[in-house]
Amino acid sequence: MKSFELARPTSLDEAIDLLPKGRGPAEIDDARPLAGGQDILTEMKDYLITPKRLVDLAGVAGLDAYQSAPDLVLGSLTRLARIAADPQIALHHRALSIAAESVASVQIRNQATLGGNLCQRPRCWYYRNESVPCIKKGGAECFAESGLNKYNAIFGGGPSYIVHPSDCATALVLLDATVTKRGPRGESRMPLEQFFTLPSEGSVVRENVLKANEILVQVEVPAPKPGWTSTYLKFKERESFDFAMSAVALSARIEGDTIAEARMVLGAVAPIPWRAGEAESFLAGKPNTHATWKEAAEIALAQAEPLEHNGYKVPLTKGLIQKALRELSGGESK
């Protein structure tokens, strides 16, 4: 790892001041925020980035908010372990609880923060190889598009085909979270869904709207509307801790034999948490049957564009969707 300066500001404005001035995404050696270090230090060890300075957020006031469910407020420094252990969250925002619990190992969850989890960088093998001049690193092409793309996107790809690795992001988009960020021009709030950007929309070298000198302050999750329940299903290649190969975050209000309303976000299939809007509309008011689940799964995946090696994600995700619907229905359809 290249040597760097460790700055320890105590206020948000001080921290922002220590970050690069430009309006664009961070360059390879620009200063960056440091939270739990679980991702950024690996990036530095692998020389993917060589920041001259890390701005440690640990001592920054205002990032440690914590208001438990049902109206959740989570400061960006909130440890994933705390989210996973909070019984109120498990009760009211089950999808988030499961998602947080599913991240990595207990050691990592004790260290990793929610802000870091949402801002972590992609795991694409080519991106993670320092010498591959891939488009995510400012190069000319996405090597995964025609190369080893088993873990890459089936939705929303191009010109980069990464998938967003965060479990919490998928769950929080499902739960209609709002995010607060702060930069030199002050604070702003936005739905978390709009925080993430496709490579074709924002800048291909980043995954969200944050500028190099903006800091994610906190995430708020509204109390669930009456009758809604949620779940999160994650499929991993290895039994032990691993990133998702596919994940489904699902919430629904089921009334008797009918699915009154549902919301569905797919994880690890697109460069952003992928909202399955058509499946949601389809489900509204449908009888809660196997046939409905199956059709919803078909609809959710209808537009998938798998690459050479990730076609498996299509049936896998369909299966997860049906499983999630069954789970929210209390096991079996009526």
Binding site: Y47, T50, S131, V132, G139, E308
Partner: protein, 900 residues
């Protein structure tokens, strides 16, 4: 050099550096052209897909061709030149000792990678190393020995002893006659002598043509045709000439001599003239000499060419239909027709118990040697004379063709071979040699012309796609009865050696099997596709894939396994080759089958999918050609001995084995010998092709060395012999052309010698490549390490050919130029390769040796196809077999289709 105002400052190998780069200049270009850093090589810029240009930038290993130099402002850049002397020694020694380099073009990048990798991880396992070198492409080695070398460095850095497998690699040799392997004398035949100049190559210190510098050197660039077929109506060079920094622009109108050249037919124009038709996308319209490469390229783009665009002929079958447009004015589209007839196939089929038929198709592939074509020409000391530095496979062919192009006598053109960064057949034809020479003639200055990767792919001939219709029969016991086959090869726009490739395919149409009734026809067709010519295997690979596919089916019908079926039909002494030649000596095929037997059955018993195939490849062109081996041993003033020969070093190790022959004969130390290939002596031998260089140059060196030895035995010392030249010219003119014998000739002998092989391919439970066992009869392994390296590299190329390599063309245009898409396997894609060498003494070869360069990939595709059938029951009739689990497990070869 033109540059913009701003300068970029950075630290280069610990010293401050400052450059004023041109627009969009890469770090690689700045390092090579402005900072004289030549360990950084250009294999594919700006793709970032070969790793030859690797540098460390602030501790990060980056492909410098993909980094704009402006991004290094204030950063620290380290290249191999900046690595400590101590470390360089360990790195270079380890690569040399492990035999980890062949042409050496990819090596400096890998050497720097090794340092970087081991600093991060002191003891990576082989799998980790393979993944870590994924950015690097090596076309020669098959990676096994590169990984060995990296492991060696790791052990040394940790101060540990090498494990036995690295310190004393297993000896893969079995003598065919059952005698124990011959113990080699130090540096002599059979030793693992380090490759000649290995250490310099590993560190990037041995210049390739592209690295050569000259006072006042101009850079050349070419303008290629914009269409696969179009009549050139006008060429306007005025804008290019007016471009600042341009010194000369050449077109057909500037060629003083013979504008058309070619190895066999003079059918290839160095430039297409106004009024003529451009026949493929690699045709030359003009060439520019300018102060630097960027200027020359910019000027070449400014040349205005108007065309009358015509429909290209791209289907070989349509090209040979009567009435089709004649692509090349010098000859009909059906360029050649080889016919082989023995016995009576119809009668034989009628009596056969089993007959199978199939239509097979193989693809066009790119050689993808890592060093693109480059030539440097300069005026000689005497007015009107020139020197040409080339990386071609035949310096004397280059000399003949370029002298005629310039209209100067051959004596006035001195040609020197600079050992190249890979060729594999793709550098037999002329590429830019004549253009460099002409620009030197026009400007009176040294000119270096270097093709970009894309231009290289457009220009040089490829491996022939061949459609093959096969019919093969056997009796109820499985004994082959007859082979009938028709081949149609797409030779592209120019003859090159295409007719010979089809002739060789036909000649190898029965493989190394006993077949009494044979009817084979092979046609080479001319089209507007990129030309096809020589490539390692030279037609034998295509035929082998089809034939082995038929054999697998027959074996199944008879109820024999693949091994037994092949053993039953394998040729031995006294049997006949497809051409009618009777094998009289050195036929180690059955021993190669024996060598793989145990593992073949063990893998089957373990429930794995296994494929097997045998191969044969001629060594020496033969077929009636007169061939030469020529050598001069010159005792120099400093007491060393120069070895001159007429063949080319292209990574295969020729120069090293020639030293070993000289050592074996004279008993002198290997360090005293220095091989040279230039036109000092008239040693014209033609192309380094047909696995013949070791055979013929070797015989010549042995004979010349014997003369030297006689003097030494008579009490003379090298000091006494200063200035003496020991010469040997050996002619081989006893081969016969295919077809009926000439009156008076009674014995068919189409080739001097043959190499034989059996390969077994084993797949894992998922159908991915697991292991390849390659058993080869090499006559004598002159250099064990080089010999293994040749075979490992061949298997690598053969697996790519079988599964992922392809260069499809649409309307005469290659659809991709990207290295990964072209499908050459990366280290992580390679299965374990186990080599077995059979030594069945070849009496016509030096110390019993024969060529090994090509046969190594002849059987591979067939064996892979067999394994795939065993895996999932799919018979494959077409290469590459991309639609197979084995191909899908490979990280490369997926061609991105342009989005609609």
């Amino acid at each position: 050099m033109p540059s913009n105002e701003s300068t970029v400052q950075f630290s280069l190998n610990g010293s401050p550096a400052s450059v004023s780069p041109g627009e969009g200049e890469s770090l690689m270009t700045a390092l090579r052209e402005r900072c004289n850093i030549l360990s950084v090589k250009d294999g594919c810029s700006p793709q970032g897909q070969c790793g030859c240009c690797l540098v460390l930038m602030d501790g990060r290993a980056v492909t410098s061709c993909a980094v704009p130099v402006t991004k290094v402002e204030g950063k620290e850049v380290i290249t191999l030149e900046g690595v400590s002397a101590e470390e360089r020694l360990v790195l270079a020694d380890s690569f040399a000792e492990a035999g980890a380099l062949q042409c050496g073009f990819c090596t400096p990048g890998l050497v720097l990678r090794t340092k970087h990798l081991l600093e991060k991880d002191a003891s990576p396992d082989r799998e980790k190393i393979a993944k870590a070198i994924d950015v690097h492409l090596c076309r020669c080695t098959g990676y096994t020995k590169i990984i060995d070398a990296i492991e060696r460095v790791a052990y040394k850095r940790r101060g540990e002893d090498l494990p036995e497998r690295l310190a004393n690699p297993r000896n893969p040799i079995r003598r065919a006659d059952g005698t124990p392997p011959i113990t080699a004398k130090r540096g002599g035949v059979g030793d693992r002598l380090d490759r000649y100049e290995a250490r310099q190559l590993a560190l990037g210190e041995r210049p390739f043509v592209c690295d050569m510098q000259r006072e006042g050197l101009l850079a050349g660039a070419v303008r290629l045709s914009d269409h696969a077929r179009a009549k050139v109506l006008s060429i306007d060079t005025s804008k290019a000439l007016a471009h600042p920094g341009v010194v000369a622009v050449a077109t057909a109108a500037d060629v003083p001599g013979a504008r058309w050249y070619g190895l066999i037919h003079l059918d290839w124009p160095g430039f297409v003239a106004v009024g003529e038709e451009a026949r493929c996308v690699g045709d030359f319209i003009a060439a520019v000499a300018a102060v630097d490469a960027a200027t020359a390229q910019a000027a070449a783009a400014l040349i205005e060419v108007t065309y009358e665009v015509r429909e290209p002929i791209t289907d070989p079958a349509k090209a040979i239909e009567p009435g089709a447009h004649q692509v090349n004015p010098t000859r009909p589209n059906a360029m050649s027709h080889t016919r082989i007839r023995r016995g009576d196939v119809d009668a034989a089929f009628a009596q056969s118990a089993h007959v199978v038929e199939g239509d097979f198709k193989t693809q066009r592939i790119e050689h993808l040697f890592l060093e693109p074509e480059c030539a440097l020409a300069e005026p000689g000391e005497k007015p009107g004379t020139f020197k040409l530095y080339t990386q071609g496979q035949g310096v004397f062919d280059d000399r003949r063709q370029v002298a005629a192009f310039l209209a100067i006598p051959e004596e006035d053109l001195y040609v020197e071979l600079v050992p190249n960064g890979g060729a594999f057949g793709g550098k037999e034809d002329m590429s830019i040699q004549a253009h460099a020479a002409l620009l030197a003639q026009m400007t009176g200055r040294p000119v270096k012309v270097l093709l970009t990767r894309e231009e290289s792919i457009r220009v040089h001939p490829k491996r022939h796609p061949i459609s093959m219709t096969y019919k093969v029969g056997c009796d109820k016991d499985g004994v082959l009865t007859a082979v009938q086959a028709e081949f149609l090869g797409d030779s592209g726009a120019y003859a090159s050696v295409g007719a010979k490739v089809l002739e060789r395919a036909a000649g190898h149409g029965c493989g190394p099997y006993k077949v009494l009734n044979v009817a084979i026809d092979a046609i080479a067709a001319t089209t507007n596709n990129p030309p096809c010519g020589a490539m390692r295997g030279f037609g034998a690979n295509q035929a082998s894939f089809a034939l082995e596919g038929c054999l697998d089916q027959l074996a199944e019908k008879v109820g024999l396994d693949g091994w037994k079926f092949r053993m039953l039909n394998a040729v031995g002494i006294g049997d006949t080759f497809a051409s009618g030649q009777v094998f009289e000596k050195s036929v180690g095929l059955k021993q190669t089958l024996e060598a793989v037997r145990e593992q073949y059955y063990a893998a089957r018993a373990a429930g794995l999918a296994v494929g097997i195939a045998c191969g044969i490849k001629n060594s020496g062109i033969g077929n009636g050609a007169e061939e030469w081996g020529k050598a001069r041993l010159v005792v120099e003033d400093d007491g060393t001995v120069s070895i001159y020969n007429g063949y080319t070093e292209m990574g295969q190790g020729l120069l090293t084995v020639l030293i070993q022959f000289a050592v074996e004969v004279t008993g002198l130390d290997a360090s005293l010998f220095h091989p040279k290939v230039d036109s000092t002596f008239a040693l014209g031998c033609g192309q380094t092709t047909g696995s013949r260089a070791t055979l013929f140059a070797g015989n010549a060196v042995v004979s010349a060395a014997e003369k030297l030895k006689t003097q030494l035995d008579a009490g003379k010392t090298l000091a006494n012999l200063r200035g003496e030249v020991f010469a040997a010219d050996i002619v081989i003119n006893d081969t016969t052309p295919p077809g009926p014998l000439k009156p008076g000739v009674t014995k068919v002998k189409t080739h001097t010698a043959f190499g034989f092989a059996t390969q077994v391919v084993i797949l894992d439970e998922q159908g991915a490549l697991k292991k390849v066992i390659a058993a080869h009869d090499v006559g004598r392994a002159v250099n064990l390490s080089l010999c293994e390296g040749q075979l490992e590299g061949s298997v690598h190329m053969g697996l790519g050919y079988a599964l992922t390599e392809d260069l499809p063309c649409e309307d005469g245009w290659p659809v991709t130029y990207k290295l990964r898409e072209i499908g050459v396997l990366r280290a992580r894609d390679m299965p374990e390769v186990e080599i077995h060498l059979i030594e069945d003494h070849e009496p016509e070869g030096p110390f019993g040796a024969k060529g090994v360069g090509e046969v190594g990939l002849v059987p591979t595709a067939g064996a892979v196809a067999g394994a795939l059938f065993a895996f999932d029951g799919t018979r494959h009739y077409e290469l590459p077999m991309k639609n197979s689990p084995a191909a899908k497990a490979i990280s490369v070869g997926n061609i991105k289709r342009a989005k609609a």
